[in-house]
Amino acid sequence: MNAEKNIKLWSTLGMRATFGLIALELAKKNPELIITTSDVSTSAGLDRFKKQHPDQYIDVGIAEQNLIGVSAGLSSEGFKVISTTFSPFQTLRCCEQIKVNLGYMKHKVCMVGLASGLVLGNLGFTHCSIEDIGSLRSIPNITIIVPSDPYELFKVLSEAINYRESVYIRLTAGSNSKIINKKDYDFKIGKAVEILPGKDVAIIGCGNILSNCLDAAKILKQKNIDCSVINMHTIKPIDNEKIKNISKDYSLALTVEEHNIIGGLGSSVSEIFSDQGSNCKLIRIGAEDFYSTGGSYDYLKNIYGLSTEKIVEKILSNFKQNEK
């Protein structure tokens, strides 16, 4: 499959629909693949998969605790299992099942959390997901990945189903998502990608919000502030080396995430900064531990300081305080 050819199409479709298309490809090469869902075939772009591979598709109904139990049982018998449902239900609803079955017992399941972050803001915070990374990050033996765009999702899934432990894949943004990766690149779980080099400020992001980070960097460039943008797609195990280098090489760094600033990317990076004993100032942008009034994706991004303009403002007001 020439994945690079599909970059435009996939970004139009968004990560969820792309997931369904990639699943069809994976099934061709992996007869032992089984996809388990909780009544979300349409939402996950899996209708074709369901029709074409009925024996590799199991719907347990709206019962996420059982989703993880059944997935772990299948995994223990040698199947490669991808489970999927909307992010809050894929993570928090069955958190203890994930702990015991995937963390403690180490059964391998690739969990795909649909529409995480803020994209479902119109539906309210039952359907937004700003706690998923924080909850799962405290469970040993679970890798956490936030693909930046549908093309990266393709790379993530191909690696994750053969990975040494369970992986939580967190999908952000909707259809017509932004293209972050315009051409092929090396993807490795746990290895950050510098998507824009720059020497003044390091912007570390994950998920499709990186498009706002890139836009902010463009605006700041015109104001003579040179920002680097780093795609920290793997939150756990995080790229220690890259973060240590950032803490040494920059005087200002920011983390940008569609997640609570407690427990997610920002926390992960600040833990390493703290271990390192860094002079680099770190600012965490994200939901500042409150549930906002609901609304559109852009509305919520703005409230949580994640819009391009808000990121620019934050850097302008903080960079001034630092010597260039």
Binding site: G61, A63, N66, G69, S71, G73, L74, F79, M105
Partner: protein, 269 residues
Amino acid sequence: MKIVKLKNFAKQVRKNIIYTAYKAGAKSAHIGGALSIADLVAVLYSDIIKIKKSNKIDENRDRFILSKGHACLALYSALVEKKLLKKKDLETFESDGSKLLGHPIINKIDGIEFSTGSLGMGLSLGVGVALAAKKKKKNYKVFVIIGDGECNEGSIWETILSASHFKLDNMTIIVDRNNYQQTGKNSDIMDLKNLKSKFASFGCDTFEINGHDLKKIYSVLSKKNTKKKPKVIVANTIKGKGFKLFENNNNWHHSVITKSIYKEILREI
């Protein structure tokens, strides 16, 4: 089936349970719930479940899952009789770094399929394993023991819906109906009412038996499943069964067997 053999097996399981609990000393052990399933486990391991000691994991073995993991003394005791565990392993129960803790830890070579102990989870794993057998066209069977108190967990009912929906006739679920849970009677804490009719209404092939009648247990377990439904056996049991001091006395849900108590109860076997 030879009733003498079953009786002996059950006797040994009970002996092992109280021996291990006694050896655990002040660390204490879940005694009542292990003794209530002793006869069920004895019949399963004596005559029903196909599993034997081996250095390799046999893909065709039957799978047994103790969803009510706190009753692990019954499982360990049966595994000793099947030679999958050694009697001296029992003496390490709940000691530092032991493979035999107060709840089972996954160890397929020793015959422990999954780590259980958090209630309401083992049954769901069983559905996954039973589905896997269908997909792999394997004939192994899946046996799961759940507790009646465990049926308070919503996840049990999510799982029963799916076992029935997927027509898992390779699955047998035994409910240890001993009428007690940690802090009292089911009827006082969360009344389960008629469990048999509940499971029947979820679409299972349902039986209710005396869970200490070895012949009955054998006959219902060995009955061929022809209905394309999971089999559910509500086994009416007595918590602490086999020892007058423990029977229907919930103080022995989790407790310490002292030397004098051990000497006294040993006479009852």
